[in-house]
């Protein structure tokens, strides 16, 4: 397992674009329910001290998913459409651990305030996402302008280029 900084030091370009998209600030967090079925929710990832965190509301069932089986998958949203749109995808997987350290929670709050985001709700559960694997995908879309909007043409099938990083 690794921190976000470990990943960023090893793969700076993957991490630079990945962080831009994880900061949107909506990403999808997948967990596994007690019955083994997948669960999926949008949330806002947070970065502090070179580490990756998510806060989960005290009423959300997925907090128990992460306590029982910390394995997660986090996927960023695509970038805005434009002439250079490449549908950049970032997906990180690993294990989540509950943060009980009030000092670390305060540091995450400070980092959130620095980017004009509100404090984590007092009763929310804070998890650190350790990273096992990071995957980025770019698509060589051919973009066309229609009515003032750039959209990928459906005439040509784009090809994907994947890049994978595994924690040592």
């Amino acid at each position: 397992m690794a921190t976000w900084s470990d990943f960023a030091n090893a793969e700076p370009e993957m991490a630079r674009r990945g962080r831009e998209l994880l900061n949107i600030p909506v990403a999808y967090l997948a967990t596994v329910r007690r019955d083994g079925a997948p669960r999926l929710h949008p949330l806002s990832p947070m970065f502090a001290e070179g580490r990756l965190f998510v806060a989960i509301q005290s009423s959300a069932p997925r907090r128990y998913d992460l306590l029982r089986d910390g394995r997660y998958s986090l996927h960023g949203l695509p970038p805005m459409l434009g002439p250079d749109y490449d549908e950049f995808e970032i997906n990180v997987t690993g294990r989540a651990t509950l943060v009980r350290d009030a000092t670390l929670r305060a540091l995450v709050n400070e980092a959130e305030h620095a980017r004009n985001r509100p404090s984590i709700e007092d009763d929310a559960w804070l998890f650190e996402l350790d990273i096992e694997t990071a995957l980025t995908t770019v698509w060589n879309h051919k973009m066309v302008e229609r009515g003032g909007r750039w959209i990928p043409t459906l005439d040509e099938m784009p090809q994907a280029t994947h890049r994978v990083w595994n924690a040592a």
Binding site: V26, Y28, L29, A30, T31, V32, G36, A37, P38, R39, L40, H41, P42, D69, R71, Y72, S73, L74, H75, L77, P78, E89, N91, T93, L154, M157
Partner: protein, 153 residues
């Protein structure tokens, strides 16, 4: 389990919220379970055809392997700026009928392109949920949630 039309007949307001989100982006996030029991998430382009939900998937895609082993899925539409969320969950099954495939390909025009090699899966609906965030970006923001479950589930 239910089709999209059966769900929409039972909960027209929830279905309309879903369609509103779907028409904006045509993009959804799919959650599946890997063979080691860990979760996987990928973006997909669903197609609603014949009152049913379909997704075409590359034959080499890990998510296809997931769904052929354990069809349980969760599909969450990309949220919009109005802070509305829509999701369905259920079981996906492979479609082998050429007539159904032809109708899905026709319905997909302008949304996505389905390649001949891609596998087509139908997503039966067991549950659906919507969330509307009220007073968003104010200290009083709160979710208003609705939930629907197919009668025979």
């Amino acid at each position: 389990m239910a089709t999209w039309d059966e769900f929409a007949a039972a909960e027209p307001e929830m279905a309309e919220l879903g369609l509103r989100q779907y028409r904006k982006f045509g993009l959804a996030y799919l959650g599946t379970t890997r063979n080691d029991g860990s979760p996987r998430v990928n973006p997909v382009c669903p197609v609603i055809a014949e009152g049913r939900v379909f997704v075409a998937t590359s034959p080499h895609s890990p998510k296809l392997r997931d769904l052929l082993r354990d069809g349980r899925y969760v599909l969450h539409l990309l949220p919009g700026k109005e802070e509305e969320e829509f999701w369905i969950r259920g079981v996906a099954k492979l479609v082998s009928d050429p007539g159904t495939r032809a109708k899905v390909i026709e319905a997909a025009v302008g949304i996505t392109r389905i390649r001949p090699a891609e596998q087509l899966l139908e997503y039966d609906i067991e549950e659906a949920g919507t969330t509307v965030w009220l007073d968003f970006q104010t200290p009083n923001h709160r979710p208003s949630r609705r939930f629907w479950r197919a009668r025979d589930s």
